[in-house]
Structures are given as structure tokens and as C-alpha cells.
């Protein structure tokens, strides 16, 4: 499935835009399995701080990541206001905790601008580009860069 995500069709690709704090990001719609409300997660021992725990997704144990903390921003106090985007990265399902889902965009390759050269490599590692739409700056997020190897993350 992620292979399909990589190929850009002539008409552009579909992205789901969501908000974390004041910033907006997107993920490719092909990676998204579902969007659901927040439920309290069972914390896992020996897990990094951005790993909130696991929840029960219709019988499947799904890990929930605080995306804000993962991107190096402020950790979030999860509440019913938040939204979980269930994504598939390679062959595993991961839930991303975000503030809200804002949009579904169809984006042509041409309007994607390259990531600005900022000091920190961390920001550049997860961003694939920037979109300027309606005075908003939306950052295209590369899911696979955020979860390069889930095993080594949690070890």
C-alpha cells in the first residue's frame, strides 16, 4: 500500500491535513486506515515518552503515539478533544494522537515547495515539503521517517 502512496498520479495525491497545536501537517490518505476519537491508552512499561500506550481497536492492540512529542514539540495531555489517526506504516498499524483533523486536500506535485533550510535536522527529517494554501503553511509529513524502525524506537 505504501508503494501506491509513493507513486503520484497525474491528478495529484490526496492528503489528510491535521492540526497539532498551531501547526498543520498532512499524511497521505493511502496510509490512513481510520480516524477515531480518543480513548484512554494502557501505558507500556519501558517505552519512550512519546509512546502513550496501547488501545483496543476492535480486538487489535494498537499503539498510540503522541505525535507532538514525537516531533519534538510539547507533549500533549490527551483528552476527549483529541483525535487518533490510525495509520499503516509498512505492515504495522500505529495510532497518531493529534488535536484535530482539518482537511482533505488534493495536491499536485508542482505546488509542493521544498522544506526550508532550518537549523535543526530533526525538523527536516520528517518533512517532505511545504504547502502554501490559503495563507496556511502545511507541512507534508513523511510517516516512514517518523517510524523508521519501530522496534529500535521502543527498545
Amino acid at each position: 500500500m505504501s508503494d501506491i502512496a509513493k507513486t503520484v498520479s497525474h491528478s495529484g495525491r490526496e492528503l489528510i491535513a491535521f492540526r497539532i497545536g498551531e501547526q498543520e501537517f498532512t499524511v497521505n490518505v493511502m496510509n490512513v486506515r481510520e480516524i477515531r476519537g480518543w480513548t484512554r491508552a494502557t501505558p507500556m512499561p519501558h517505552s519512550p515518552a512519546f509512546m502513550l500506550g496501547v488501545i483496543n481497536l476492535r480486538g487489535v492492540v494498537l499503539p498510540i503515539i503522541d505525535l507532538s512529542a514525537r516531533l519534538g514539540m510539547k507533549p500533549v495531555e490527551p483528552s476527549a478533544r483529541h483525535v487518533i489517526i490510525v495509520t499503516q506504516v509498512r505492515d504495522k498499524l500505529v495510532g497518531l494522537l493529534v488535536d484535530a483533523v482539518s482537511d482533505i486536500l488534493t495536491v499536485k506535485e508542482e505546488i509542493i515547495q521544498p522544506t526550508p533550510e532550518v537549523a535543526s535536522d530533526h525538523e527536516r527529517s520528517f518533512a517532505r515539503g511545504i504547502l502554501a494554501i490559503d495563507n496556511r503553511m502545511i507541512c507534508l509529513m513523511e510517516l516512514e521517517a517518523i517510524f523508521p524502525d519501530i522496534e529500535s524506537e521502543a527498545a
Binding site: 484512554r40 491508552a41 494502557t42 501505558p43 507500556m44 512499561p45 519501558h46 517505552s47 500506550g53 496501547v54 488501545i55 483496543n56 480486538g59 487489535v60 492492540v61 494498537l62 499503539p63 504495522k92 498499524l93 500505529v94 519501530i150 522496534e151 524506537e153 521502543a154 527498545a155
Partner: protein, 759 residues
């Protein structure tokens, strides 16, 4: 499905066919040569050949074809299956099996094995005796019609069709209607989409020609005059008569990709013989090479007039053809039905005979069974949730609801048991393989060992069986290589020269217990201790119980063998064994008596999906502790708690001291140590030997939970075995008792070292 998956299925089916073949041949060998048995044998080889052809397994196809040809002779009563013939048949079956295995593994079989048999089979097919021996009169009498049959049955798999205007006069034998290669009439009319999608009728026809003898008639009646010709449209219609033994499916397969863009009709023709002679058709010799050049338009340019003339004759023949077709269609349909009916009955009978005994069986995809098991697991969870909400909302509970719930629980449990039983298989096949391994290893190391098995019919979940073979193999090799003494030594000790390895399986309290014991020398504890100290696995002055010394052999890289042999000595065996057993959710322990032998006892869960657990809370988190690990629960009293060293606490239980393990700290749920008196202690028994007392805050209850994997979407977490879903829908973690205990022992060992250092 990709090619590899399809190939897998094919090889699985081959195994079944080979089994059928073997049993059929054995029956024939016993004298049961009725047509049903012979047909079953023929079909088995035929199926293997067909499938092998699809995958291009040429060696297999070639041999199977010769085998099949000879079997065909038997089937059509041209060859009498006497003892000599059966010998050749049985040997051929063996070679066929070897070729199949070779094809599956990508190896080659020594051609010398096959060529001799191929010659014999061909001789038989031609009505001659294979090695010149007995029963001369019968084969000779049948020699006359046999060569004709042989000629007709020769492979026509070469490419390049030859339109053979065949007549069926040569075949005087009426009985052959079923035995002869079936003919089909294929009507193929492509639509213009077919060409625009990249298919080419010429290539399709060429592939078709590879299936068998074929003659083509092209109906060009729809071809318009040149000025109205649309070069991208399709005007032709082909009627093809093909004689092939590959069946209608093979024909359809050729047109697979073009199926939607053409009109395709395939009719079986078996009664055609009579009507064929009346066929006034003049097959317009259709030259495929013409199409290959892709210049229909230009050709039509030159031969516009010819086309018109040809078209009119074609029209007539087409009309005549249509009439014949209709006449034969009726007859063919009737014949096909009869044949199908016969086939079905035979197939039903064959199915009933398979898998030994009168029980009909059915082959099911393992995925479907897995899905069913998952759903039943969900059902159990849901039922638990329902029961819980009723209890919470309705304390008193109406009579009806409570009774209903109880019944529901009963039913769910029964469904669960039945579903688990679907996947249960006896351990017999695994044990049988072990027997061979014992012989091989004993030979290799020059000892004499015998394997005794007990409880072979004990049933275990299929996945457990699959994963059991490897650890058992390791352990048996170790037993024979290290445990059993050489015959001379045994004699000197007064033991019988032949060593005994005993493998037993039995059900015990919801688990299956497999025990592997030998009557060898037992574990040399001194050597083990020494080696462990040398490899720095334990400090030099560590005081370990016998049990703990025995368990040292499970440590990674441990081996007391002084040299590495082919069989063992690399020090990877027992560690891998233990991990494999644990991966199955099982436990392994050792009992050893020096001089008398050792015993490895494995306890495995009957099913992998469900667990009886005790629900406890630790630092506000809910955990599930597998019930099988818990020996006792107790409420610690202050006076029973003793401190040991800087960090350790021990609890006195009936005159022995047991280390307390603070689960909350080990799992990092809290940073401060808990006070044992505030909570409950669970006395657990771990594989590494010894007991521990796990400190938890409170016990919530005991229940059966469905195991959910963590590794599926996350990763392995130390201390946690898996996860489960509680009645309230939340995820609870299942504690991995062994690793928690191991972690705590790490602390103990470190403390000891510290003590030693400070003197």
C-alpha cells in the same frame, strides 16, 4: 495470489495425489484392479503432470507423461497389471515422488534413476514385457491395438500446429470413448477491445495449438470491403477443433486475459466421431504466420477479390458448421453430463476413501480456521463484557437474564473448545520423525540407541506441532550425543548396551506435557559449573542449587563439549530450544540424576490463544498473571518480611525464604519501592528454578482471557508476554513471569557480587 503461493498449493496437492497414487497402486498390487482404483491412480498422475506443466517443471512432466501413458494402457485394459507390471509401477511412483520433491526444492534427480524406468514404462506401453519375464501371452495378444494407441497417445506438446483433418476411423474400440483424448470445439470471436488491450488473436491461437492437435477454421464473412475496413476493428471468427488431453480448463486458461473481450465458447466433443464423417467442411487452411506479420490490412489490399470469394465459401462452411455444431452440441452435452456424473461419483467415492477410515474429511485453508478462532475469541470477550455490564448495572439481576447469561457462557465455552479442537492434531507425525533422527544420530556417533514413544495420539494445536519439531530434534541430538554413554562404558556400568530415549506426551491440567528422558549419564554438574564460570556466566563463588546448575545449560552460548562435532557442541542448541518453547507459551525444566539419566519436561499450552489468568492491579495498572505460574497467594505480614542486603527483601514462607519481587518497579510503573505489607504477594514458580513472591497491589479476580499479540503492531516488551482485552474494553498486559523473575535475579546476582567485593 502470487506465483509462489500458487506453487505452494500445487505441491501440497501433489503430496495428496502421491498419497492417493501409492494407496491405489498398493491396492492394485493386492489384486484390486477394478476400474475405479485404476482410474484414481491414473487421475493422480495426470493431475500432477498437468500442474507440473503449468509451472514448467519439465523433468516432472516428462516422467509423469510416460507414467501416465502406461497407466492409460492399464486403464483401457490394454495392459494387464500383473506382478511385474506392478513392480515397475510402484518404482515409478517412488521416482515420481522424488521428482516432485526435487522440483519443489529446486534440485535435480539423478537421471540414471529415471531413464531405466522410462524405458520399462515405454516397453509396457507398447505391449512388450518390461524385463522379458512372465505372462507373455496376454501382452502379446494386446500388442496389435496397443501400438496404435501408443502412437495416438504420444505427446503432442510441440508448438506449431498442424491442421489435421482427422477422422476417427482408426479407433475401432468403442470402449475408448472415455479413454481417448477428448476433443473440444472452440468458437473464438474477438471484439475490437481485445486488440486494443494488447492481446493478439494470433498469439492466442498459437498457444492453443500447443495444447494438442488442432485445426482452425476462420470465418471471415464479416470482413467488409476494403474501403469500409476499419483496421482496428475485429471481424474474424475462428472455429477451432482441438484434440487435447489437458481438459477444457487448459483451453480456457489460454484465453484467460482475453475472456472479457471476446466471445468464447468451448464445447466438448466426444460423440463427434459419427457425425464428423459427414462434415462437409472445407477447412480453409489458416496460416498463422499471416497474422504474425500484423499486416492484415495490406494483405487484404492485394487479395480483396480473393477475400470476397473466400468469404462466400467461408460463409457456407460456417453455416454448415453451425448446423453440425448444433447437432453435436446436444450429443456432446449429454455425453459430457454422463462423464461428469461418473467423475463426480468417482470423486465422491475417492474422497470418502481418503485419509484412512470411513470419516469424510475436508481440506480447509488454515487462514479460515484462524479467522474462525479469532472470532470465537472475540465472542468470549464480548460475552465477558456483557456479563460484566449486567452485574454492574443490575445488582440483583433478574432471574431470566442471569440464567441466560450463564447459558451463554456455557455455549461460548463449548464453541471455543470445539473450534480449538479443529486445529488439534496428534503429535504422532512429529514423534515418528524423531525415531528416524535417533537412528541417524546414533549411527553418526557410533552409539546404539532406541526410541520409545508414548502418548502419540495426544492432540495438540497445529501451530504447536509445527514448532515442536525443531526443539525436540535439538534435544534428542544432545541426548544421544552427550547423554547416552558409548556402549562399552554402559556395559562397564552395568547398563544395557543399547541406550533408551523415551518420548512421552500427555495432557495434564489444561496443558500438554512432553517429556524427553534418557538413561544416560545425566548432567555433569561439576563440568557445567566450571564451564559457566569459565564463560563468566556466573561468579566463581556463586552458590547455586542443583536445579540452578542444570538450568545453566539454557544460557546462550553455553556448551560443555570440548570439541564441536557435526551433531552438537556449538553451544546454540539448548538456548534456542528454550526460546522456542517459550515462544509457544510453554515452559521447560530439567530433572537429572547423575549416572541415571536426564529428563527434559516441557509443558505447553493446549491452545495458543486463550489463557487462564489472575487479574491484579499494580500501581493503578491492570495486569494479568498466568494462572499456571501461580503457586499460592498470600498476604504478607510485617514480621515475615526480612531485608537482605541493600535492596532485597525476603519473605519467610513455612521455614524457607523467598525473594520478593517488586513488579511495579521492574516494569517502571513506579520509581519508589512498594511496601509489601500494603499489597498481596503471589508466589510464583519460574523456569529458572526457584520461587519468587511477586508483589502486587490487589487481586481483582480470576478469568479466562484471550491473548492478543503485541508484536503485531508494536514490539516485544521485556516483562510483558502479550496483551488482552478486559471486560470493559480496555487493554491489559499479560505478565511474563519468567522474564520478570530473571530481571529480579539479575539484581540478586549483582548484589552478591557487591557483597563479595566488599568482603
Amino acid at each position: 495470489m502470487d506465483m509462489n503461493e500458487i506453487k505452494e498449493i500445487f505441491f501440497q496437492e501433489c503430496e495428496e495425489q502421491l498419497a492417493e497414487l501409492e494407496s491405489g497402486l498398493l491396492k492394485m498390487n493386492d489384486g484390486e484392479t477394478d476400474s475405479e482404483t485404476v482410474n484414481a491412480v491414473f487421475r493422480a498422475v495426470h493431475s500432477i503432470k498437468g500442474g507440473a506443466g503449468a509451472f514448467g517443471l519439465d523433468d516432472l512432466v516428462a516422467f509423469a507423461h510416460v507414467f501416465e501413458t502406461t497407466l492409460d494402457c492399464v486403464r483401457s485394459n490394454k495392459l494387464d497389471p500383473g506382478p511385474d507390471v506392478m513392480k515397475v509401477m510402484l518404482k515409478s511412483a517412488d521416482v515420481l515422488a522424488d521428482l516432485t520433491i526435487a522440483a519443489r526444492d529446486g534440485n535435480k534427480v539423478d537421471p540414471s534413476r529415471t531413464t531405466g524406468l522410462v524405458k520399462d514404462l515405454e516397453l509396457l506401453a507398447n505391449g512388450e514385457a518390461p524385463t522379458g519375464a512372465s505372462s507373455a501371452p496376454e501382452p502379446v495378444a494386446k500388442a496389435a491395438p496397443a501400438p496404435v494407441e501408443a502412437v495416438a497417445a504420444k505427446p503432442t506438446d510441440d508448438s506449431g500446429f498442424q491442421p489435421i483433418p482427422f477422422s476417427f476411423d482408426d479407433f475401432g474400440d468403442e470402449k475408448e470413448e472415455v479413454a481417448e483424448t477428448p476433443s473440444f470445439e472452440v468458437t473464438f470471436k474477438p471484439r475490437s477491445d481485445l486488440y486494443s488491450k494488447g492481446n493478439d488473436a494470433a498469439l492466442l491461437l498459437r498457444d492453443l495449438s500447443r495444447l494438442g492437435d488442432m485445426s482452425i477454421n476462420c470465418d471471415m464473412s464479416r470482413l467488409p470491403p476494403l474501403d469500409q475496413l476499419d483496421p482496428e476493428a475485429a471481424y474474424f471468427r475462428w472455429t477451432i477443433w482441438i484434440k487435447t488431453d489437458k481438459g477444457e480448463d487448459a483451453i480456457r486458461q489460454i484465453f484467460e486475459f482475453a475472456e472479457w473481450d471476446c466471445e468464447l465458447e468451448i464445447k466438448a466433443r466426444s460423440e463427434a466421431p459419427e457425425t464428423a464423417e459427414e462434415l462437409p467442411m472445407q477447412p480453409i487452411p489458416f496460416d498463422l504466420s499471416m497474422l504474425d506479420e500484423d499486416s492484415i490490412a495490406s494483405e487484404a489490399d492485394e487479395s480483396g477479390a480473393n477475400v470476397a470469394a473466400a468469404a462466400s465459401t467461408a460463409k457456407e462452411t460456417a453455416k454448415a458448421t453451425v448446423q453440425i455444431v448444433q447437432a453435436t452440441a446436444g450429443a456432446a452435452a449429454a455425453a459430457a453430463e454422463r462423464r461428469d456424473g461418473g467423475d463426480r461419483r468417482e470423486a465422491a467415492a475417492a474422497k470418502a476413501d481418503t485419509s484412512g477410515g470411513a470419516n469424510p474429511t475436508i481440506r480447509v485453508d488454515l487462514d479460515r480456521v484462524d479467522r474462525l478462532i479469532n472470532l470465537v475469541g472475540e465472542l468470549v470477550i464480548n460475552q465477558a463484557m456483557l456479563a460484566q455490564s449486567v452485574i454492574e448495572n443490575d445488582q440483583s439481576g433478574t432471574q431470566g437474564i442471569n440464567m441466560g447469561l450463564d447459558e451463554l457462557q456455557q455455549l461460548t465455552r463449548e464453541i471455543q473448545d470445539s473450534v480449538m479442537a479443529i486445529r488439534a492434531q496428534p503429535v504422532k507425525p512429529v514423534f515418528q520423525r524423531m525415531s528416524r533422527i535417533v537412528r541417524e544420530v546414533a549411527d553418526m556417533v557410533g552409539k546404539s540407541v532406541r526410541l520409545i514413544t508414548e502418548g502419540e495420539n495426544t492432540e495438540v494445536d497445529k501451530t504447536v506441532i509445527d514448532k515442536l519439531a525443531e526443539p525436540l530434534t535439538h534435544m534428542i541430538r544432545n541426548s544421544v550425543d552427550h547423554g547416552i554413554e558409548p556402549p562399552e562404558k554402559r556395559a562397564a556400568l552395568g547398563k544395557p548396551a543399547e541406550g533408551t530415549v523415551k518420548l512421552t506426551a500427555k495432557h495434564r491440567s489444561g496443558r500438554i506435557v512432553i517429556e524427553l528422558s534418557d538413561d544416560g549419564a545425566g548432567i555433569n554438574r561439576e563440568r557445567v559449573r566450571q564451564k559457566a564460570i569459565e564463560n563468566e556466566l556466573i561468579p566463581a563463588d556463586a552458590n547455586l542449587s542443583d536445579e540452578e546448575i542444570d538450568n545453566l545449560i539454557f544460557m546462550p552460548g553455553f556448551s560443555t563439549a570440548d570439541k564441536i562435532t557435526d551433531v552438537s557442541g556449538r553451544g546454540v542448541g539448548m538456548d534456542v530450544v528454550k526460546r522456542s518453547i517459550q515462544a509457544l507459551g510453554g515452559r521447560i525444566s530439567i530433572q537429572s540424576r547423575p549416572g541415571h539419566g536426564s529428563s527434559f519436561i516441557m509443558s505447553l499450552p493446549l491452545t495458543l490463544a486463550v489463557l487462564d489468568g489472575m487479574v491484579v492491579t499494580v500501581a493503578n495498572q491492570t495486569l494479568v498473571v498466568p494462572l499456571t505460574a501461580i503457586v499460592e497467594t498470600l498476604q504478607p505480614e510485617a514480621k515475615a518480611i526480612h531485608s537482605f542486603g541493600a535492596n532485597q527483601k525476603l519473605i519467610a514462607i513455612r521455614n524457607s525464604f523467598c525473594p520478593l519481587v517488586d513488579v511495579g518497579r521492574i516494569l517502571n510503573y513506579r520509581s519508589t519501592a512498594a511496601n509489601p505489607v500494603d499489597g498481596v504477594a503471589l508466589l510464583v514458580e519460574s523456569e529458572g528454578g526457584g520461587q519468587r513472591a511477586l508483589m502486587v497491589d490487589a487481586i481483582q479476580g480470576q478469568r479466562q482471557v484471550v491473548i492478543k499479540s503485541l508484536e503485531a503492531n508494536y514490539t516485544h516488551v521485556p516483562g510483558i508476554a502479550a496483551a488482552t482485552i478486559l471486560g470493559d474494553g480496555r487493554v491489559a498486559l499479560i505478565l511474563d513471569v519468567d522474564s520478570v523473575v530473571a530481571a529480579s535475579r539479575g539484581q540478586v546476582l549483582k548484589i552478591d557480587g557487591a557483597l563479595a567485593a566488599t568482603g
